[in-house]
């Protein structure tokens, strides 16, 4: 559908990230971006099971990256995009810490917003990543949420 291939990258890392640094990288990709939509997910300090001190995030090294790269291709088929960056952290993350970043630049805002939400819905429901919550009452694997599944189904994911 689109002749232009956006500049896309995904990083799975233990390190924290900075929106300003990622934004500079996205805009360095060239093109004439007018719009950048971003999403940052944080470790919440509370959940259905009570207080959360930290989480542990597990990935499937190799498949996590390749499945996210595949969803970039899918997004580029659906919308005209200039650059996409995803950072997903793994390992132990304390309450309030950043977990995930999705940044999408495009000429106009509608594409950037839609693709950013699309990629987040994918990360929540299809990319091999798992969260374990470490709370005062113990540790438990996070259950997949129906609302996330419904969000993903909107896109036919």
């Amino acid at each position: 559908m689109t002749a232009f291939q956006p500049d896309c990258a995904v990083v799975i890392t233990r390190e924290d990230f900075s929106q300003d640094a990622l934004q500079a990288e996205i805009f360095a990709c060239g093109g004439s971006a007018g719009a950048l939509a971003t999403f940052v997910g944080l470790v919440r300090g509370a959940g259905p099971n009570g207080v959360i001190e930290a989480i542990e995030v597990e990935s499937y090294p190799g498949m996590t990256e390749s499945s996210i790269a595949a969803i970039f291709e899918e997004a580029a088929q659906r919308w005209s995009l200039l650059a996409v960056r995803v950072v997903h952290r793994v390992g132990r993350l304390e309450a309030g810490e950043q977990i995930v970043y999705v940044g999408v630049s495009s000429l106009h805002r509608r594409e950037a917003f839609a693709a950013c939400e699309f990629i987040m819905d994918y990360l929540k429901t299809r990319a091999p990543l798992w969260k374990k919550e470490l709370g005062t009452g113990g540790a438990w694997w996070v259950e997949a949420r129906d609302t996330d599944t419904e969000a993903a189904e909107r896109w036919g994911l």
Partner: protein, 84 residues
């Protein structure tokens, strides 16, 4: 033939193993591999691997029961994902 088998998250914890090499007959399907693994290990393996929402991937691509495996394939079993 040999198949690399990986387990993640809750499944990894329930089985107490993250990775193993399975020695199986040529050309078995993903479903047959799962039955073999359950036979060769403790009884709860059958329940854990056969659970309703278990996702299976072959060579890092999500796969169905009838997929035929080849020597050296990497097969993963994992629970519903919860990233983002």
């Amino acid at each position: 033939m040999k198949i690399d088998v990986l387990f993640f998250a809750r499944i990894r914890e329930q089985l107490g193993v993250s990775r193993l090499t399975a020695q199986v007959e040529q050309d078995i399907t993903l479903e047959q591999l799962q039955l073999c693994l359950a036979e060769q290990h403790a009884s709860h393996w059958s329940e854990v691997l056969g659970g309703e929402n278990v996702v299976r991937a072959v060579n890092q691509v999500v796969a169905e029961n009838d997929q035929v495996l080849a020597e050296g394939d990497e097969v993963a079993f994992y629970p519903p994902v919860t990233g983002g």
